[in-house]
């Protein structure tokens, strides 16, 4: 859907995007994450044809967005981090204006406005002035404006910032719904726990370079998450570490007197044998569960350990890295 090739964007004395390449799959929700100053907002603005890159190109469905920005805007939606609404207009007027600005014919506008309002669950506020809406509802109205023309690709920059927990949950549901309807979404956020709820892929940026681009499933599997097993025991066992260390196929990561975190191999037969041996040792095993690592853990690990991708390589979400 969106293909970014060798993107470079400079500010005087500072390179914001350094040969960034990646491809976003159609129908996916890609979480764009990275520390402050990593280049997330710049990347989104360049992809939205709001800024022109120093080098490289952005292809949306095969067309370079900078060749004809207006044509690209008809196929994409973008909600910047700092957005505003026409507070003096009603919700209906805001949506109607936006629909007209997107070139939707007058005869179709009423139906499209009603549909967008229903989609974002603001139909009951249609005659209310935008300035009187709560922050969560304003966010919904802004998203409704961004998707009125039914874009194939939607970008949201920090859409959850400033929202209360209920509004955030609502936003997650909206994004899942849009993705379910076939929209491809790129969303940047610092709230990783929520990104984990609805994202299918993750794109990590660090110092203007891609650190990681993969599906969440793959990241979870690759990071050893499924090989880390948490063990629980019915009673305190003073020499628990020694007894666990005696099992050669098992690596002890942390160990207390009644619980431990160990790493096993992926081989199911060996796992079954270890489980059987732990049961046979009479340790009172009460828990043998794979340790789930949060997206935040993975993110922090990647940011700490992994060097940015070598410039000039196009990263695909499933393939890791593929030469251009």
């Amino acid at each position: 859907m969106l293909r970014v090739e060798n993107l470079i964007y400079d500010y005087p004395g500072h390179r914001a995007l350094d040969d960034v390449s990646f491809e976003v799959e159609a129908g996916s929700i890609t979480a764009l994450v990275g520390p402050n100053g990593a280049g997330k907002s710049t990347l989104m603005r360049v992809c939205a044809a709001l800024e022109r890159p120093f080098a490289g190109r952005v292809l949306l469905a095969g067309a370079n967005v900078h060749d004809n920005p207006r044509a690209a805007h008809r196929r994409m939606g973008f909600l910047p981090d700092f957005y505003g609404l026409y507070d003096e207009l009603t919700v209906a007027q805001c949506l109607d204006y936006r629909a007209a600005a997107q070139g939707i014919a007058r005869t179709e506008r009423a139906a499209i406005v009603a549909m967008a309002a229903a989609r974002l669950e603001i139909a009951d506020r249609i005659d209310q002035r935008a300035g009187t809406l709560s922050r969560g509802l304003r966010q919904r109205l802004a998203i409704a404006q961004a998707i009125l023309h039914d874009p194939a690709f939607l970008m949201l920059d920090e859409p959850a910032s400033g929202l209360d927990p209920a509004a955030r949950i609502g936003l997650s549901a909206v994004l899942r719904q849009l993705a379910g309807e076939g929209m491809t979404i790129l969303v940047s956020s610092h709230i990783l726990a929520e990104l984990q709820d609805y994202s299918t892929h993750i794109l990590m940026l660090k110092a203007g370079r891609v650190v990681e681009h993969a599906s969440l499933e793959r990241i979870a599997a690759e990071g050893g998450a499924s090989r880390d097993i948490r063990l629980g025991f019915a009673a305190n066992i003073p020499d628990l570490r020694r007894r666990l260390s005696a099992i050669t196929e098992l690596e002890v990561i942390t160990c207390g007197s009644d619980e431990a975190l160990v790493r096993l191999t992926d081989d199911p037969a060996i796992r079954a044998a270890i489980l059987a041996r732990l049961a046979a040792e009479g340790l009172g095993l009460t828990c043998f569960a794979p340790e789930r690592r949060s997206l935040q853990d993975i993110y922090l690990e990647r940011m700490r350990d992994r060097p940015p991708a070598r410039p000039g390589l196009l990263t695909g979400p499933e393939n890791g890295e593929a030469g251009t």
Binding site: D10, P12, L50, H73, G84, A146
Partner: protein
């Protein structure tokens, strides 16, 4: 079926022209007009209407035109607008007309009062044409002032990356200045006394009065302002464009400067000299208006090196192409002066204008043309130096202060201190000593060029070619 109204215009009309506001303005206007009539008759109404036209069109209008963009930036709706499907032209006229719709409504009410009062005063039929010329000047002045303010805000947006707020005082001030120059402020008094309404004076001894020139020039400038706003809006929407419109404008400026300079009593030489001065001012204005982003400059240089003419020319700064035209014209001027007969030199005029004996030599005048080109080059290099260096965020103001200091106090001190032989050090006025004429300015140009190169490398993290390094030194 009714044609579709421009969405931007419609939105602005929703916001600006509610029936309460329209009715309120009408009631207030009629009340004030009646009060003026009651206290001073139609002459007072004429005076009040004239003042209202000045305030509404000259002061309020430019502010509203500038605000139609600045408010969008301030409230965060501009990025959403940039993501819409509206064409650049639709955005320009929708915002310009829509943003000032209420101003025009109030202004037209004031003009109606002005016309009605004028008719009641029985202006002589022979003067009616001038009266209507005055009305036209008010309208074209307003249109030009509003469009100028609008275009200046677009220029300011171009100079600011990731803008969050804009100040519109500059746009409003220039808009007001433009309105006053084109339309004048003294219409009532002059209507009563002489043959034209908003006249601000005659030029020389010709029959051509300023109102007519102002009307013609104002109409052309309005067209150019609209074109400029459109091109700047396209630029804002990230479209690239060839610089041919800019070159056409320079051609227009040359033509207009030559025509306006040719009043009776002047010679061809005056036209020839006035054009480089106008071009110089345009180059300086273009340099101030340019973002002077070293990254874009380098991008353009690399594109040209790669023979990507479209991208290279599109990213060529206006001041640079303006300077090239200016240089070409200077060359023409110098050649013309050197090939003119000796008696073609307008001794009296130059005496009056400059009061320098050293001007009375063809060779000196030709040298002055070369010096002018070098002085402008030095000033541009100083501006680039400021723009690429650590003073980047204050470059415009620092440069204006530099110009004021370099050209004004030193020239005054040398002139009144009796050191006219050394005036060539601070002004592009050549003396008899060729070495003294050219050596100092050449040295200044060389030093400025060296400084530009130094700061350029700091700002881009590299030289004139190739890609910059990551983590380049931040200036």
């Amino acid at each position: 079926m009714m044609p579709e109204l421009n969405p931007e215009l419609r939105r602005n009309l929703w916001l600006q022209c509610g029936w309460q506001r329209l009715a309120g303005a009408l009631v207030v206007g009629v009340t004030i007009a009646y009060a003026l009539y009651a206290f001073g008759g139609f002459a007072r109404v004429l005076f009040g209407a004239n003042l209202a036209i000045l305030v509404i069109f000259g002061m309020w209008g430019p502010r509203r035109a500038a605000d139609s963009l600045a408010e969008e930036v301030g409230t965060g709706t501009w990025e959403m607008q940039r993501m819409s499907g509206l064409s650049a032209w639709s955005m320009v006229w929708g915002k310009l007309v829509g943003g000032t719709a209420f101003v025009w409504y109030c202004g037209v009410l004031a003009i109606l009062a002005y016309v009605l009062a004028g008719q009641q005063l029985d202006f002589p039929p022979g003067r009616a044409g001038n009266f209507w010329l005055g009305v036209y000047l008010a309208l074209i002045g307003a249109a030009l002032a509003h469009t100028t303010a609008f275009a200046i805000v677009l220029l300011l947006m171009r100079k600011t990356v990731f803008y969050r707020r804009l100040t519109i005082t500059l746009a409003q001030t220039i808009g007001f200045f433009v309105y006053v120059v084109v339309s004048g402020v003294e219409s009532v008094r002059l209507l009563e006394q002489v043959d034209v309404a908003p006249r601000i004076g005659r030029i020389g001894e010709s029959e051509a009065t300023w109102p007519l020139i102002g009307a013609i020039l104002g109409s052309f400038l309005f067209l150019w302002a609209i074109i400029a706003a459109y091109r700047l809006m396209r630029n804002e929407l990230q479209y690239r464009a060839w610089p041919w419109v800019w070159l056409l404008f320079l051609a227009f400026a040359i033509f207009a400067a030559e025509r306006v300079a040719l009043w009776p009593g002047s010679s061809d030489l005056v036209g020839i000299v006035s054009v480089p001065l106008i071009l110089m001012l345009i180059v300086y204005a273009a340099a101030l208006a340019d973002p002077r982003d070293p990254i874009r400059y380098r991008s353009g240089l690399i594109a040209l090196a790669q023979c990507d003419l479209r991208r290279g020319l599109a990213e060529t700064p206006w001041w640079l192409s303006g300077y090239v035209v200016f240089l070409a014209y200077c060359a023409v001027m110098v050649t013309t002066i050197l090939t003119m007969p000796q008696d073609g030199l307008p001794r009296g005029l130059l005496y009056a204008m400059l009061r320098f004996d050293i001007f009375l030599s063809f060779e000196n005048l030709a040298h002055s043309g070369v010096l002018l080109a070098l002085f402008v080059l030095r000033d541009l290099l100083v501006l680039l130096c400021l723009s690429f260096g650590p003073w980047r965020h204050r470059a415009d103001m620092t440069w204006l202060v530099y110009l004021a200091l370099v050209y004004w106090p030193l020239a005054v001190i040398l002139t009144f201190g009796g050191y006219l032989d050394y005036i060539t050090l601070v002004l592009p006025v050549a003396g008899d000593n060729a070495w003294l004429n050219f050596a100092p300015i050449m040295l200044q140009v060389a030093v400025a060029a060296f400084a530009v190169r130094h700061f350029w490398r700091q700002a881009t993290g590299h030289g004139a070619s190739g890609l910059p390094q990551v983590g380049a030194e931040t200036a």
